[in-house]
Symmetry: C2
Subunit: 343 residues, 2 copies
């Protein structure tokens, strides 16, 4: 398999990205070619730093970078030679099977939509973030691709999340919940109420509205919301887990007894910290585009980039896109005679 890594995007640029790429190449033999897209001098110098001359690496020089302050669509239209655009081009031309980027999420989404197009039956792609609870793993879709989502987009997210949960995470009949303000049908915005009706009529295992508290206390397998809300949930979860452990560390350091206790219990802390550490998850697939695009965290460490490349490799093996197309086709066929179709 061949993967294109946007080697410029992200808060830390080439150093973390190249370091992650080097780690991934050492660990994942199934990667046969890794394109590093960006400023070739910068990339080469980082590779030199790591004494890496792996023949599977091919540097693709590009002269521009989408900055975090750029507007997504404008950046894709005007910065034709940006690292993210060039990386997506490699997938478009069939030279790479997947792209990984830790750069401007909006630009990655726009470039993928413009160059790869969406899958048949899908209007807008959504980011599927995978989050752990004590008892299961759930898919949060959309985690930030589409902040002005229409009701039909949310319905499509429910289908895509469900397919992902079944085919990648192994849940037979994943439960689907819609993020709202209360469990009752009448709660929520005009938009969520409309989505509620659509989901209720669908063949999905829809359990109804869920509130933030259901995410972790009595979790469902697929959590559906628009990209603004999803991004807030994702970032809040990451933040609060980090904050609680830091806080706990501080409290544990306040006496000798507590410190001794913390030492004895250290593996328990480590187990949970590892499970809640987003670096272990690496990246989230942008579902709904005709190709594979993995969105990594802007602040990705080398470990997170390595794992994002792992997610890309897994996505290439798993090929969920045909399943998404099939599910949506079947839904549209069933509803076509009854009511206006999905799109």
């Amino acid at each position: 398999m061949k993967i294109a890594l946007d080697a410029m995007g992200g808060d830390f640029g080439p150093p973390n990205l190249v370091a992650g790429a080097v780690m991934a190449l050492r660990e994942y033999r199934q990667i046969k070619k890794l394109y590093l897209v960006g400023d070739s001098a910068g990339i080469e110098s980082e590779l030199h730093e790591h004494q890496c001359n792996d023949s599977r690496i091919e540097i693709v020089h590009s002269t521009q970078v989408v900055e975090m302050s750029d507007r997504a669509w404008t950046a894709v239209r005007h910065k034709k030679d940006s690292s993210v655009s060039r990386a997506v081009d490699l997938v478009k031309r069939g030279q790479a099977d997947a792209i990984v980027t830790a750069g401007h999420t909006g630009a990655a989404v726009a470039a993928s939509m413009i160059k790869l197009r969406t899958l048949p039956g899908i209007d807008r792609p959504g980011i599927a973030a995978v989050l752990p609870t004590e008892t299961n793993v759930f898919v949060l879709i959309d985690a930030g691709a589409n902040i002005d989502a229409r009701p039909e987009h949310l319905l499509q997210y429910a289908f895509m999340g469900s397919v992902y949960s079944r085919h990648v995470l192994g849940y037979k009949s994943p439960t689907v919940g819609l993020v709202s303000l209360g469990e009752e049908d009448v709660k929520g915005t005009e938009k969520t109420k409309e989505v509620f009706k659509m989901l209720k009529k669908s063949s999905l295992n829809f359990v109804g509205n869920i509130e933030g508290r259901h995410l972790f206390e009595d979790p469902v397998e697929v959590v559906v919301c628009d990209g603004f809300v999803g991004n807030v949930i994702l970032k809040t979860c990451e933040s609060i887990a980090v904050a609680i452990f830091k806080w706990l560390r501080h409290e544990l350091d306040r006496s000798k007894w507590r410190m001794a206790g913390a030492y004895l219990a250290r593996h328990a802390f480590k187990d949970i910290k590892n499970k809640t550490n987003y670096e272990e998850y690496g990246g989230s697939p942008l579902l709904g585009v005709n190709g594979i695009c993995i969105i990594a965290h802007g602040a990705s460490s080398p470990l997170a980039i390595k794992n994002a490349l792992r997610v890309a490799a897994e996505s290439i093996e798993q090929q969920v896109n045909p399943h998404i197309v099939e599910e949506i086709r079947r839904y549209n066929e069933t509803t076509a005679s009854l009511e206006p179709a999905l799109r």
Copy 2:
């Protein structure tokens, strides 16, 4: 001071509400009168259960209850004799200084808006939830009163949250952040971008857009967002804190060494659990109405209700409403000559 408690609302009805009221009366001598509004037979039976014949209690009989499945505005219009409406009536007539309810949030907001009206210069009230971090305490506004907020509502929330942070929490110049998808000005929805511009021009200590991760890692004092997003943040925070501690408990029980460690460090866990336990906070003020209304959690325990009554008592003492009116008046005066006023 006199407080009206909606004794029917909430997931557990009179048992928890009356138990909380009894606890509050024992602890807070400053409460001179506590109206318990709802089904008198049910309330009396609960009081009997607690062997409570405190002369400060006055039962106000009402025959209806707003159910969680009711639509907020319809419920207030049609269920004239609901416990929440009757409780708000007591404040409207000056018989009570504040209302506390754990019932249908939308109905409490609607009843307060209809009967008490909003403060001069305020279009829509917002719930100000107070949340702890390791280093400070922040106000999240709106935590669920107004799910279809317009930009000017969010600006008003920023002012109200700021006044609350100064006058109640004691921050001299509280920092204000706007929940968005990234720190850059260009990130967010059309709505948040408009609010960003308004906040930047205001006299508030506005630090810009914040993401979920800034809530706890590098927190601001006032977090501004619409009621949908705010409610999701609030419920997610509650949920994840509970889930992490449950998870930790489970991990700590997995070996004798870990259990011994947990025992030695037990006070550290307890300190944080208490600080993150919403029951200790009890209730959140609905800011912007011409009166005092405290919204308690639907699933409130007696302890949470006791603390919601404490919050009501504190709010009566602190009287933030005149400060809100003054701040908004000053803002409107300053901007009136420059641009269209706040409302």
